[in-house]
């Protein structure tokens, strides 16, 4: 290499150019537009504004509940590469555990006091999340740990786990349907002008947003969140930086299961009657949502859940027969546009 003054200047300039070149800042904004565009598109199709409001809120509420149930699963898959086909079991267990609080506490539930109602709900949610969290810990230890990395076995074993869990619910709670009554102040509607909006749906939207914001903050502002996001991309490198990421796995699995339990309580109250299959029925929908969102992306899961729920509600009004398979159609459409989901996580 020559070292004349000229050459040195050339090298420095080139260095400065290439090293200092600012990368083009790209925020992937397209998926963010889907929900607003869809809602706007639906308005002329639905025709009446009040109906549109009802449908949209219903869709948002359902979407939030699905998001809560699905968010845990997408993180578990993204971080641990574990396919838990039994995730629905935690939804069912959460819903049934809520009956242990809400059914005995009739006076709080039937009282016409928002405070008492919220407290009863709060207690039910706490117990449900505790039970599903512990169940998740046991599930990870006993069922999942022996089959890390073996996808086929994971699929089979977690499906088996789901069947066993459903049947155990039948053993413990009996095989008949159990009604889960909505607390008194959550019933009924708020009236805004011409539109009627169910109170419970607004509560669900509120809780869903709170969960999303909490997850966003944890993932983006804490060290653990940093580790999770890095681990979803490249587990090995995180270990090479000195972190025992396997310990994190258990934590994420427990958190994901507890979230499913929370979702189960909300979903159970939404449906108002419980059967052991309530989690199994929702499994396919949860899978569809996390595929749409991109395996490992919480943001994608959020958009996907609301998208699917809105489409189901709009279609239910506009073309009921289509509504039944609308979730699959949405999935196919999204995958044709982005084969890895809305926000594919950049894998190693």
């Amino acid at each position: 290499m020559t070292t004349t003054a000229e050459n040195r200047a050339e090298v420095s300039a080139a260095l400065a150019d290439s090293a200092m070149a600012l990368p083009r800042l790209r925020i992937d904004y397209q998926p963010l537009l889907i929900i607003p565009l869809l809602a706007l598109l639906a308005m002329p199709l639905v025709g009446s504004f009040p109906t549109w409001v009802t449908l949209t809120v219903a869709g948002l509420a359902m979407g939030m509940m699905i998001f809560i149930m699905a968010s845990g699963l997408t993180l578990i898959f993204g971080l641990m590469d574990v396919l838990n086909f039994g995730h629905g079991a935690f939804v069912s267990v959460g819903a049934f555990t809520a009956t242990l609080v809400l059914l005995p506490m009739k006076n709080w539930v039937q009282a016409d006091s928002v405070l008492l109602n919220l407290s009863a709900l709060g207690l039910a949610v706490l117990l449900a999340m505790l039970v599903t969290g512990v169940l998740g810990w046991a599930f990870e230890r006993i069922i999942i740990r022996p089959v890390y990395g073996l996808h086929l076995k994971q699929i089979l074993i977690t499906m088996g786990g789901m069947i066993v869990a459903e049947q155990m619910i039948n053993v413990i709670w009996g095989a008949e349907q159990i009604p889960l009554p909505l607390p008194e102040t959550f019933r009924g509607v708020f009236v805004f002008g011409d539109s009627a909006v169910e109170k419970y749906r607004l509560i669900a939207v509120g809780i869903g947003l709170a969960v999303f914001i909490a997850m966003f903050l944890v993932l983006n502002r804490t060290k653990i969140g940093l580790l999770i996001r890095a681990g979803v991309e490249n587990r090995e490198m995180v270990e090479a930086l000195g972190y025992r990421i396997r310990r994190l796995f258990v934590g994420v699995f427990v958190a994901g299961s507890a979230l499913a339990g929370l979702g189960g309580v909300l979903w159970g109250l939404y449906k108002e009657t419980l059967t052991a299959a309530i989690g199994g029925e929702i499994t396919v929908l949860v899978f569809i949502v996390i595929i749409i969102g991109g395996l490992g992306s919480v943001g994608g899961c959020f958009i996907g859940a609301i998208l699917v729920a809105l489409v189901a509600n709009y279609a239910g009004f506009l073309a009921p027969k289509v509504a039944l398979v609308s979730d699959i159609l949405v999935m196919v459409a999204v995958l044709l546009w982005r084969p890895q989901g809305l926000y594919a996580v950049a894998k190693r």
Binding site: P146, K153, I163, E166, V171, V284, I291, L324, V325, D327
Partner: protein
């Protein structure tokens, strides 16, 4: 020798296994005359159909290495094809042929689409997507009630020779009237036998060996010049077609189609359980597994019922053993088999031979 050709060189390779297979074969061949009554014959026919259905799934999972949950869809298509044709047209072999032809065509098309779609997505995606597709199909079948009979399904008349009222000969053989039911049974039996032997031929052919090499390491197979896409898709299509035929046979036997019997997730879990317990990638595993499973499903539940009654003072135990909780024990068995019987019964029997020699 002839047995070699018949089994395409794929011998049981274990005396116990061979003995079991022979016993099952004889039992199924002579079923109408071994026991009397409708139930044992129904069990036998179900075993025949499930052997074929599970073997076709083994072709997909055990030999090609593809995890799909859409298999019941093809089973259902076969059943509904034949069933709806016999329902809508005059019951006769013409209707059967048309229904079967339509079903096979539809299955082939769907299998092609699904197979090619699997290229764009990873294996995990693919499994989840097949689950979604299968459930959508089940929903469609139960919702398009005018066409499919909805949740309740449809009963229909079968061709005359297969009808229960039809008598081939007036005499009785071993106490069994040789009626349409028996004829239908032998139709099912011989078709199942032919299909099974056909599958043995396929997996032991050069084509089958390529499938297995793709399952082991598809990069290497690709490097050796095999277009894995084509082989995988063909494997998909073959498995789907056989499943369709199995569905058609079952529909002819039951003289009924309905979403719960043919398209439900329970059927898919049954198939998975049988293929895992029997032994993946062996085809004979389907025979052993299906026999064990169907026998247990029918007769174990009775046992459970009796045990539950005996324990009626201990409510929790009584609940655990309640015959409706059959699935609970299935699930436990399922989990245990995946851990402790990863090679299945057939694998264990064959391994025993190898250790001795």
């Amino acid at each position: 020798m002839m047995l070699n050709k018949l089994l395409s060189g794929d011998f049981p390779r274990s005396r116990i296994l061979a003995g079991l297979l022979l016993a099952i074969f004889l039992g199924l061949a002579l079923a109408p005359f071994i026991a009397s009554g409708a139930r044992p014959l129904n069990v036998a026919a179900t075993i025949c159909v499930f052997i074929v259905l599970v073997a076709s799934y083994d072709l997909l999972l055990g030999y090609t290495g593809i995890v799909s949950f859409a298999h019941t869809m093809f089973y259902g298509i076969g059943a509904y094809g034949v069933g709806l044709a016999l329902n809508g047209m005059t019951p006769g072999w013409g209707a059967v042929s048309i229904g079967l032809a339509c079903a096979l065509t539809l299955s082939l098309l769907l299998a092609l689409v699904i197979g090619l779609f699997s290229l764009r997505v990873k294996a995990i995606f693919f499994a989840m997507i097949t689950l979604a597709v299968a459930s959508a199909f089940a929903v469609l079948a139960s919702q398009l009630s005018e066409f499919t009979g909805g949740e309740d399904g449809r009963s229909f008349k079968v061709p005359e020779i297969l009808q229960p009222g039809f008598r081939l000969i007036d005499a009785e053989i071993f106490g069994r009237a040789v009626d349409g039911k028996v004829i239908t049974y032998y139709l099912v039996f011989f078709s199942a036998l032919a299909l099974f032997l056909g599958m043995l031929r396929i997996v032991n052919s050069p084509f089958g060996r390529v499938l297995q090499s793709i399952r082991e390491n598809d990069f290497r197979a690709e490097a050796l010049g095999y277009r894995t896409v084509i082989y995988r898709t063909l494997g998909n299509c073959l498995a789907a077609l056989v499943a369709t035929l199995a569905g058609a046979l079952m529909a002819l036997w039951l003289r009924y189609v309905g979403p719960k019997t043919f398209l439900s997730f329970e059927v898919m879990t049954d198939i998975l359980l049988i293929v895992v317990i029997g032994g993946m990638g062996t085809l004979y595993g389907a025979v052993i597994g299906a026999t064990l499973f169907i026998l247990a499903q029918n007769y174990l539940q009775t046992l459970m019922g009796q045990a539950s009654e005996m324990l009626s003072d201990v409510p929790f135990l009584a609940q655990l053993l309640h015959p409706d909780r059959w699935l609970l024990w299935l699930g436990v068995l399922f989990i245990l088999s995946v851990y402790f019987f990863p090679i299945g019964i057939v694998g264990k029997l064959r391994a025993g031979v190898r250790r001795k020699s």
